[in-house]
């Protein structure tokens, strides 16, 4: 009896260890495999050429992903500009101003916004946003492009930023709020001068996490950004018209071409993946760093 029990314990311990090891193995496999496949591209094309050449013509052996980096960068910037103020306003409203009942009503809406599949956002973008954007009278404007993609992406990162920022704001100790109110500060002054500074690192990491999500989004971007491999440029004297340009993201580049790519072309796509991976790692670890080193709170 006792012996059986011990044997069972040992057996379970080992199989659980196996499960944990398998999970590690998957991570390693993904890393190793992606890098291995990308190696020929790094060797034969070279990192510098990959990053700085703007022409991507796999048929002619030209593999520069600068256009895609610009596309990803611009669309992310656009989404952040459009989405962050809205998300922060929403986070402050939910954590500081809204009546608990209203909050209980709105919070699930924000969560649902996060749960809607990206392909549905892409579809919505194609059917609603793109035709509206097409209405802007500019030469060469088809509606598909950075602006439409930024709007769609802004909506997609809105819930992420809102929930993380809201959490950060709520975890500011209530003593700070009381201290400020007791000095005759208005509620808004308290929020502005004590609560937001107190939650600063959490708010910044919320934005950075949203940035990471934006960089990684694939399918919705393919659907609305136009996918042309060009470095976006302003079509008129107005510098903002750059956002009406078509573009392609790093993620879109992989998804659109991987299924028929072979040889160096395939390897170059893996290299795109590695570069994307490194980019997102930098973004996410800086968010994590900010969250753990936010030394603004009390001695928690």
């Amino acid at each position: 009896m006792r012996k059986n029990k011990r044997r069972l314990d040992a057996a379970m311990k080992n199989s659980l260890l196996f499960a944990a090891l398998a999970s590690i193995l998957i991570v390693m496999l993904i890393g190793v495999f992606t890098f291995r496949e990308a190696l020929p591209a790094f060797r034969d094309i070279g990192l510098e050429k990959l990053l700085t050449e703007s022409v991507w013509r796999p048929g002619e052996g030209q593999y520069g992903i600068l256009a895609m980096i610009a596309g990803s960068g611009l669309v992310t910037a656009g989404a952040v500009i459009l989405g962050v103020p809205l998300a922060l306003g929403c986070a402050i409203f939910l954590s500081e101003i809204a009546h608990p009942n209203l909050r209980a009503l709105v919070k699930p809406c924000v969560e649902l916004l996060a749960g809607i599949p990206s392909v549905v956002y892409g579809l919505f973008g194609m059917v609603i946003i793109v035709p509206i954007v097409r209405g802007i009278d500019m030469p060469g404007n088809t509606g598909f492009g950075l602006f439409s993609a930024s709007i769609v992406l802004a909506v997609m990162i809105l819930p992420t930023i809102t929930s993380v920022a809201e959490h950060a704001i709520r975890s500011v100790p209530k003593e700070f709020r009381e201290g400020s109110l007791a000095l005759g500060a208005t509620k808004w002054e308290t929020i502005q001068k004590v609560v937001i500074p107190g939650a600063r690192s959490g708010i910044i990491s919320a934005i950075v996490l949203g940035l990471g999500r934006a960089l990684g989004e694939t399918i919705a971007m393919i659907m609305v950004i136009g996918n042309s491999v060009i470095i976006p440029a302003a079509s008129t004297g107005n510098p903002l018209s750059i956002f009406l340009s078509r573009a392609r993201t790093l993620t879109g580049n992989i998804a659109v071409e991987i299924n028929y790519a072979t040889g160096l072309h395939e390897s170059a796509l893996f290299a795109t993946g590695v570069i994307l991976f490194v980019l997102i790692m930098i973004v996410n670890s800086s968010a994590k760093y900010l969250m753990s080193h936010g030394n603004t709170g009390k001695n928690r």
């Binding site: 311990k13 260890l17 999970s23 998957i26 306003g89 749960g115 599949p117 208005t186 399918i219 991987i258």
Partner: protein, 281 residues
């Protein structure tokens, strides 16, 4: 004083509006897709397979089957691994004295966190290269499920860990003190208390598979025939939306499928919310 009050009113109005605007966006997206979509939904839509053609004739029956098939296959792979790894990390990891195992645990924790931040297309890329081509599984439910497993394992490990950590140590001590073995304690005392939390993670993962498109775009193929085996190619509902919108340009059918997806996601969200509310009381 009046200026300070005005400033506050102005700021609060701005916050009010941004929150109202967010809810409005949700209502517009969900409302538009559901209203437009439901106009094209009838019983036939669910019961007939897509027949291709320029207007995307037919319904979505085979894509529903493919979605269910894929979700179940993925969970069959991911649940034992994820829950097992979660249990190991919480209940066993600290008991190992071997330096080697401890290092592995650190790597595992780091790995799980890293995996959670990886954009899904990377899993697609990896799945395509390893499962589709190198292992010759081809575009198939199997390849897609294995790639999908990578996507949801971090979710399951995390929720399992959280659920187990929420079980008070006194439960474990009480059971161990009565002479129960370690595994017996976990099986009979810890897991029953943590089961709702763990199920939340599994439902959450099912939702991720249902809504994911990019990974399956590069691993599942896209055939709209009903999958018959693990090696069949297929098309999930989300993927179907993509193909309808991007290739056939059949927006009405795409919206209808999208509406079904949204309703499905709302139901899954409700399930999760109910479970977690039930959990917290």
């Amino acid at each position: 004083m009046i200026i300070r009050k005005l400033k506050q009113n102005f700021a609060f109005t701005a916050m009010w509006l941004s929150c109202g605007f967010t809810v409005l966006i949700l209502l517009i997206v969900v409302g538009y897709v559901i209203i437009k979509g439901f106009a094209h939904i009838n019983m036939d839509f669910f019961l007939t397979p897509p027949r291709g053609g320029l207007s995307g004739e037919g319904g979505i029956s085979s894509t529903i089957i493919a979605t269910v098939y894929l979700v179940i296959t993925t969970l069959v792979f991911a649940t034992p691994l994820g829950v097992g790894a979660g249990i190991f990390l919480v209940e066993y990891a600290d008991n190992f004295r071997s330096r080697f195992v401890q290092k592995l645990v650190v790597i595992a924790r780091f790995g799980v966190e890293t995996l959670a931040g990886v954009p899904s297309i990377i899993f697609g890329l990896f799945g395509y290269a390893l499962f589709v081509t190198t292992l010759h599984f081809g575009f198939s439910i199997l390849s897609a499920a294995l790639a999908g497993t990578c996507l949801v394992i971090p979710v399951i490990i995390r929720t399992t860990e959280e659920a187990l950590k929420a079980v008070p140590d006194s439960y474990r001590e009480a059971s161990l003190a009565m002479g129960a073995g370690k595994w017996e304690t976990i099986w009979k005392v810890v897991l029953p208390s943590a089961i709702t939390g763990i199920s939340t993670g599994i439902v959450l993962s099912a939702g991720r598979i249902v809504s994911e498109t990019a990974i399956f775009y590069v691993t599942l193929g896209g055939s709209y025939r009903t999958p018959t085996s693990l090696m069949s190619s297929g098309r999930t509902m989300a993927l179907h939306v993509y193909y309808l919108a991007m290739e056939t340009r059949a927006f009405d059918k795409a919206l209808a499928t999208g509406a079904v997806l949204i309703v499905l996601i709302i139901i899954l969200n409700l399930v999760i919310n109910t479970v977690s509310r039930w959990l917290s009381t």
